[in-house]
């Protein structure tokens, strides 16, 4: 191995590169890199850009399907929703920046994911956010939550894209490492989808949007004084978002996309100009030459290193059709945005940068992109945990409590209690096409395709409790929960995006969680014909050697082709009967009941196996529910998740405003019947004429269906268990978060 001459080992290490990797760079270049080149390699070979630990595993995922137009590999995934319409969507993490500066971290996370979507020609029509915070009692949790929510709202509300749904969990495992995952869904016409491959030689490369400043240049680079004269104030590494500019950028890009000027377009996300130029060139099979003097700069004296590594927000790179540049210039000037011709595509296969008439970088593109390190990290198969058997001592009464108290505890549990305090800060109704959002309490949002009678249903899900107990089953479960949430609207689920948040992949147990979660996701995708079309990996989520619970957040999208044949959870009617679809064994391992009431693994490692996911049952039961909705047999449907039957019934009551009664049964212990979290189950509300047909058709299909209760009155009742007023229960459910935030 060649020891670095130009740089100290510290400098190399500060750039996140191992000695081996540095040697490899020298080998690929046939020389040592200069500082700018080192910076470029360091970001391109970072986990974030190169996916070096995850690439080989992600490859195995199902990414094709008859409605998939573009799978992973582009800025976002593209699916066909008929009539020449496509949906473009993706989810992405902004965990670390949000922990450092919650407002700006979350805001720029939203801005970044929207750019991924409108880069491809789509108008963003919905945002969602999947959030995980530490223990509510941890001193940082409250201000992180407040800042993140303000940031998401501050950006999304201003840009004018409704934030229609999401999820929020609390767990001590996120104390030092919160997760902020943002999802954006956009709509485009199939013949107006734009890609990032910079095809053709000699085409002009344009920079548009905000000026480049010294934002977000990584910590490592701060330390090295040689390229930073004014070393007085340490430069902040956080980026500041400007939603106003983003809004202009959306409008300007969409206006330009209506013409035929763009050959390729790519937003500048992580690693800004570096990754965008390299990815475009790599995909187009060309080289690229950039004159850095032409890059619009916010501050004087920026070095090539700083310009290439800056993560200033609201910027895009485009390759244009020669001769038509003026059309683009006019549009961007109209929107008051910077626009500059900064280079051209070449046939050299190299990235060449000039600055003040000197060549400051000349490196082949392949090793930076396709040819980047692709590691095969060792991993350990997660061990299976024991099943938690029923035990008479699990009965609340035997525990010296009662069912009413249990319900009160669960309704005020941070992971169950209403998140109104959060979503009321999000503009959910702008654009006039939101049909259902967080407001109804349903699992999926519904957003109409503008001017049409169809809509998309969108949901995000992941149950970290399950994933921590069994990454494989947890991965499956995250996928099927989105599927079920979409099904409950009457939508046909089409595809998912994933945002895989894990700890340090250099540890075999963490790598094992990652590998097995992916296997689980893939198994579910294949069983349900529900492919992955985009996603994001976020590793190294840990503090003090303690990793977060494995959190593969899934965002699912489905199509409602006829708005007359859809549902929200709020539709359940007084006097309707509740039918439970799917088999109940009363699985308590890793359930909310086990955690919050029995005290298992409340803040330690999980103790028991989570509910297994039977993919055949998921498919059969889900398809049956969808058929019932499409045939207008139901007034509402809700899937069973955290808290089992009891919580699903109560949530339905909250949404429709009527009481419920659950009947006595004798098959399994009452606590397990009410709170077990067996999968593949739905609670549906039907009128009296539909009860028999729904149950008998289910039987003929081999699906378990059982009359379990009814809707009506003003109380929440489970015979032999709980009985309380709907109003009181609702108050408890609504109070926890605002009380917590005000405390």
């Amino acid at each position: 191995m060649r020891a670095p001459d130009l740089f100290t080992s510290e400098t190399v290490a500060e750039h996140g590169l191992s000695e081996d990797e540095y040697a490899l760079i020298c080998e690929r270049l046939g020389r040592e890199p200069n500082l700018t080149e080192l910076g470029i390699f360091s970001v391109m070979w970072s986990e974030h850009c190169s996916y070096k630990s995850s690439r080989r595993h992600l490859k195995k995922l199902l990414t094709k399907g008859k409605r998939v137009i573009q799978g992973p590999g582009e800025n976002a995934g593209v699916i066909d929703i008929d009539d020449g319409d496509v949906i473009i969507f993706k989810m992405e993490s902004h965990n670390h920046p949000s922990y450092i500066e919650p407002y700006q971290g979350a805001a720029t996370g939203v801005g970044g994911i929207m750019r991924d979507v409108f880069t491809m020609g789509a108008r963003p029509i919905a945002n969602l956010n999947a959030l995980r915070f530490g223990d509510p009692d941890h001193p940082k949790t409250k201000s992180l939550l407040a800042g993140v929510v303000r940031g998401i709202g501050g950006y999304g509300n201003c840009v004018g894209v409704p934030t229609v749904g999401g999820e929020t969990n609390f767990h001590p495992g996120y104390n030092g490492n919160i997760l902020v995952n943002a999802m954006c869904v956009g709509h485009a016409k199939a013949d107006k989808v734009f890609y990032s491959a910079a095809k053709g030689v000699g085409n002009p490369v344009f920079y548009v949007g905000s000026k480049t400043g010294r934002d977000g240049i990584h910590g490592a680079t701060m330390a090295s004084a040689e390229f930073d004269d004014d070393s007085d104030a340490k430069r902040p590494t956080v980026q500041v978002g400007d939603p106003f500019t983003e809004k202009l950028l959306i409008e300007a890009c969409l206006e330009l996309m209506a013409t035929d000027v763009i050959i390729a377009i790519q937003d500048m996300g992580a690693a800004g100009l570096t990754s965008s130029s390299i990815e475009m060139a790599d995909k187009g099979g060309v080289g690229i030459k950039i004159n850095l003097d032409k890059v619009p700069q916010r501050e004087p004296g920026m070095t090539p290193y700083e310009m290439m590594l800056s993560e200033s927000q609201e910027r895009m790179l485009m390759v244009l059709t020669p001769g038509k540049e003026n059309i683009a210039v006019k549009i961007f000037e109209k929107w008051d945005l910077d626009v500059a011709n900064i280079g051209k595509t070449t046939d050299t296969g190299r990235l060449v940068l000039t600055h003040k008439r000197k060549t400051v970088c000349d490196i082949p593109i392949a090793p930076l992109a396709d040819d980047a390190p692709n590691l095969n990290r060792p991993y350990k198969k997660p061990k299976k945990l024991p099943v938690l058997d029923h035990d008479p001592m699990f009965d609340p009464i035997k525990r010296g409590s009662d069912y009413n108290s249990v319900i009160k505890t669960l309704l005020a549990h941070p992971n169950i209690a209403s998140k109104r305090w959060i979503w009321e800060q999000y503009d959910r109704t702008v654009m006039g096409d939101t049909i259902d959002s967080s407001q109804s309490g349903g699992g999926a949002a519904i957003v109409r395709i503008h001017g049409q009678n169809k809509a998309v249903a969108i949901a995000t899900d992941c149950t970290p409790r399950y994933c921590a107990a069994d990454p494989f089953e947890g991965g499956k479960q995250a996928v099927v929960e989105t599927w079920r949430n979409l099904i409950c609207t009457g939508a046909m689920p089409i595809a998912i995006t994933d945002c895989l948040n894990f700890g340090n992949p250099e540890r075999a147990d963490i790598m094992g969680q990652f590998v097995y979660a992916i296997k689980g996701i893939d198994a579910a995708c294949r069983a349900l014909d529900y492919p992955v079309v985009s996603g994001n990996v976020s590793l190294y989520n840990e503090t003090n050697q303690k990793a977060i619970p494995p959190t593969p957040a899934i965002g699912g999208v489905g199509l409602i082709s006829d708005l007359q044949k859809m549902h929200t959870i709020a539709g359940a009617k007084d006097g309707h009967t509740l039918i439970l679809i799917g088999a109940t064994k009363g699985w308590l391992g890793a359930s909310l009941y086990a955690q919050a009431i029995l005290g298992y693994a409340a803040d330690k490692d999980p103790a028991h196996a989570p509910p297994p996911v039977d993919l055949n049952a998921e498919k059969a039961n889900g398809n049956y529910i969808r058929k019932l909705i499409n045939n207008r047999r139901l007034s509402a449907a809700h899937d069973l998740s955290d808290g089992g039957l009891a919580l699903a019934a109560i949530e339905m009551a909250f949404s429709c405003g009527h009481g419920i009664k659950l009947y006595q049964q004798s098959e399994i212990p009452l606590y397990a019947w009410l709170f077990g979290e067996d999968q593949a189950r739905y609670l549906i509300a039907v009128d009296e004429f539909s009860i028999n047909p729904v149950i008998s058709t289910a039987k003929s299909l081999g699906i378990t269906a059982k009359k379990v209760g009814e809707i009506g009155g003003t109380r929440l009742i489970a015979e032999g268990a709980f009985d309380m007023s709907l109003k009181d229960a609702h108050m408890i459910y609504e109070s926890w978060l605002p009380d917590y935030m005000a405390s």
Binding site: I100, E101, G213, A233, P236, V238, V240, D242, F244, S312
Partner: protein
């Protein structure tokens, strides 16, 4: 005692507000404006009568709540 705290963005941090203000002043015909930065002031009424204690307390308040030290600098002025 009174404390006046000025909070401003650190140099180099994007200030979209300032930029927009400068641009609209130019639009309104104030061509002489080359640039603008926006900051905020917080004025506190304090019970303390000791300037040193006040100074130390207010600094602590800035660090803990008033300023976002990741992107902002602050200056404290204690008066009468």
């Amino acid at each position: 005692m009174k404390a006046i705290i000025h909070i401003e963005l650190k140099p180099g941090v994007l200030d979209p507000q300032g930029r927009t203000i400068a641009r609209s002043l130019a639009h309104l015909g104030f061509g002489d404006v080359k640039g603008a930065r926006q900051g905020k002031t917080i004025e506190l009424d304090l019970n303390t009568e000791d300037k040193k204690i006040a100074q130390a307390q207010v600094k602590e308040m800035c660090e803990q709540l008033l300023a976002n030290t990741v992107i902002e600098n602050y200056h404290i002025k204690i008066t009468e």
